[in-house]
Symmetry: C2
Subunit: 341 residues, 2 copies
């Protein structure tokens, strides 16, 4: 780490992603003095845990223009726009977890393992992809390095914490109510989330029938892979899991391959490869860093050659906070000529 350590402003420090970002920064050895926490007027004045320390959450309005080297934005799109406007022209590099800038042409959308080459000394805003996009593309990357990919379809099992802490609270309160035989009124989600599964709650496009989460996956994948017409067919579904998304992914490749060929692709990757017969589950992956892969199958029954994967990823870590911090460390490495990842 450079001396003095870079100053990092974590914005939205009391939310699910902000809390996780602080935990990861602490785990990675960033000193508490290098981290400043910001939040809305509502959370300002409270404290956020940072390892054994507690950091004061300052009112975002107090965010100084030039103090921070990095602004890790763990807030909504409105806050993201406001912070970018205020930091424009300063040396602070913004790494944004919201969808505010993801499709902006001049903003790189980065998963460090895939396209960190888009980051340059001039980059001032970097967007963190959607959690479902990050985990799917990380899961596919070892195959993409070895094979031409003609198409992907993905079906998701998304944890309720994708909707923040309120999602978990609703899952718990509804679950308790159902177990007691009481009725419930959904608030965070449009449907009962306890003991139920339902289409992702993001806004539905009335023409295509795709929901917002699915459209994000399509558009972000095309941008990250620089392939504007790539055929991705996603179906996004919420399941009553607290944390960690799972996905069933079907990858159409241009050449024939067998299971061992595909397994070899993963052998030297950073992904966690499940043992056959025990595909890792969301509960086992929660709190861990790497995307887990399991149930590798190959399908030769149709004209297309298809690879099938089961993937799990703690969507608050690699799907959000951790990826953002890895982006920050990639910038820092570029600026300081040191390697963190």
């Amino acid at each position: 780490m450079r001396e003095p350590c870079p100053v990092i402003a974590v914005i939205g420090a009391s939310g699910a992603v902000g809390t996780e970002a602080l935990s990861i920064l602490s785990d990675r050895g960033y000193p508490p003095g290098s981290v400043r926490c910001f939040g809305s007027a509502r959370s300002a004045g409270s404290v956020a845990p940072f390892g054994a320390h507690r950091l004061a959450i300052e009112n975002l309005d107090a965010l100084p223009k030039t103090d921070a080297d990095y602004a890790l934005l763990c807030a909504d799109t409105e806050t993201a726009h406001s912070v970018r406007d205020r930091l424009r022209g300063t040396p602070t590099v913004i790494i944004d977890n919201s969808s505010a800038f993801r499709m902006d042409e001049d903003v790189p959308l980065v998963i460090p393992e895939i396209n960190s080459d888009l980051i340059s000394h001039e980059t001032s805003v970097i967007a963190n992809p959607n959690c479902s996009t990050i985990m799917m593309l990380c899961a596919i990357e070892p195959i993409r390095r070895a094979y031409e990919i003609n198409g992907v379809s993905v079906t998701t099992y998304q944890a309720v914490s994708g909707a923040g802490r309120r999602g978990i609270q609703e899952l718990h309160s509804q679950t308790r109510a159902f177990l007691e035989g009481e009725s419930i009124t959904p608030e965070v989600f449009p449907h009962a989330c306890a003991f139920n599964v339902f289409e992702h709650e993001s806004e539905l496009d009335p023409v295509s029938g795709y929901n917002g989460e699915e459209l994000k996956m399509i558009r972000e994948t095309r941008k990250i892979w620089n392939c504007p017409t790539f055929p991705l067919l996603p179906t996004c579904v919420r399941v009553p899991v607290e944390r960690t998304h799972a996905q069933s992914i079907i990858i159409e490749i241009a050449e024939r391959a067998n299971i061992e060929d595909i397994r070899r692709c993963y052998a030297n990757s950073s992904l966690r490869l499940s043992e056959p017969g025990h595909a890792l589950t969301p509960r086992e992956i929660t709190g861990t860093d790497n995307v887990a892969i399991g149930r590798i199958r190959v399908d030769h029954t149709s004209d297309a050659m298809r690879v099938v994967l089961w993937a799990c990823c703690d969507q608050i870590r690699k799907g959000a906070a951790l990826n953002a911090i890895q982006i920050m460390e990639t910038v820092e490495a570029l600026n300081r000529d040191v390697v963190y990842i």
Copy 2:
């Protein structure tokens, strides 16, 4: 209904499927005097609800050879083999919910809406397909009548009651334990089922990597569609839902079609079509008869023309007990020249 009403032996009357069969028979107006309940030595002597009535469960060993017109087998494969051996040569028509005879060449595997023409006056054993197969093929049938289908991939969200009552008990007890912060030991399933999702627990084929549930879907679909090499690509997953399976289904068709074309296929079907923006969920479908379809999408982005569906089905009703009773009524209609369905 013919007079006198046919005598129906429900075997496995105290299990999840047997209980549901009794409920459906009662709802459909079968008199309690026409139904006899059988079970293992363990459940013999207890009673089973039949509408407002309670029927004594007799020891299966007392099953008379010639008394019943129909034996609705709602038990395991071992019991199915034993009962068939004992009823061989009698006029009793066996309708079996287990997987014991499904792939037997001389046993029709029937979903009445699709292939009831396989039933003849000579049929003595009819197999009920696996619940996941029934719901998927019912969901696809209106499209199959209008379009040539080149391939299907399906990803499931399967309720724990697929493993019987013990599955629901384990889900409830584990859920309570997790909410109280207690640890759990999985018993019915190999993984924690509360707040988790995991690959279907059926035995894994070590060569292909498919689990037993997936292989059933492949083999049964090929048999029912009479297409021995049909490319079906299933991924079967358990979710913490008490009852009613859901599936995300991708159907590759040979012609171009738009959403309205596909919607028209369903307009005159027996399937329940969700309104756009509110795809029916397992909780809403539990206890109902028809397979529900929602989220119709069409995908033109790849070379193949694909239709995407979300399907829900109470797997204990149409996926098991109801389909078996519909098979029985199809036989009865054939024998009596009356139409029940």
